[in-house]
Symmetry: C2
């Protein structure tokens, strides 16, 4: 596979997992997570480390947080050998509310063709007051 | 270098750049950024792509946002060949205010011993109301 095909494959993996997540089904994401996954999101005070911690977390969200519609904006895949860094912005529309996200997914090709997520960072897009910088 | 030494080296690179950043000096970070850097932070509505975009952004912050004291919490380095994923939490204290951050830095060893940042994602640690998930 050339770089473009590889990048497209990563986006297909992410989109397929995301679409199930939006129905309240975390299974496809769980199937992608590496045993050594590290994870940040704005609902958590601490990073989650390791698959078991994520399994418990995601199973607790099963059937919740359903998303009616989403837009994946400007996905970029940076490929470095067996590692792919996918970044995109996401608008998830749930109950008429737009949740705007920045997303980083670091994928690793553990075996030929078998990609796993080794790191995931979700944050809200929220430009903030720069006054304190002056 | 074994894995532990490599991980330690990445944390040293990051800490050295961060300490200068905290004095208002973005130069060490700029020296680490890869030409294909992708960057998210909560002050930006869009991802920044590429070194030149980051250079302009960081030069605009030179001398600003000075941090009196910081704590880097629980840094973890995940190493995959020539790629290292560094994640940590950071408390930056400026003018008596604690700015609590989640940080992802993806480093790549471009040539032997020469590490560059290919992706950086900053977000605020802010647990949020989960009501909408119910």
């Amino acid at each position: 596979m050339d770089t473009q095909q590889m990048a497209a494959k990563i986006i297909v993996l992410e989109t397929a997992a995301l679409e199930e997540w939006n129905k309240g089904n975390p299974t496809p994401y769980l199937e992608l997570l590496s045993p050594d996954i590290t994870y940040f999101d704005p609902f958590l005070e601490k990073r989650k480390d390791g698959f078991e911690s994520m399994r418990i977390f995601y199973e607790g969200l099963r059937g919740k947080g359903k998303v009616d519609r989403y837009e994946m904006i400007d996905p970029v895949v940076q490929l470095y050998g067996s590692v792919a860094v996918l970044t995109y912005q996401l608008h998830s529309y749930a109950d008429g509310v737009d949740f705007p996200w920045n997303c980083t997914e670091v994928y690793r090709e553990k075996e030929a063709g078998q990609w796993q997520i080794v790191h995931n960072h979700w944050s809200f897009i929220r430009p903030m007051d720069l006054e304190w910088l002056k």
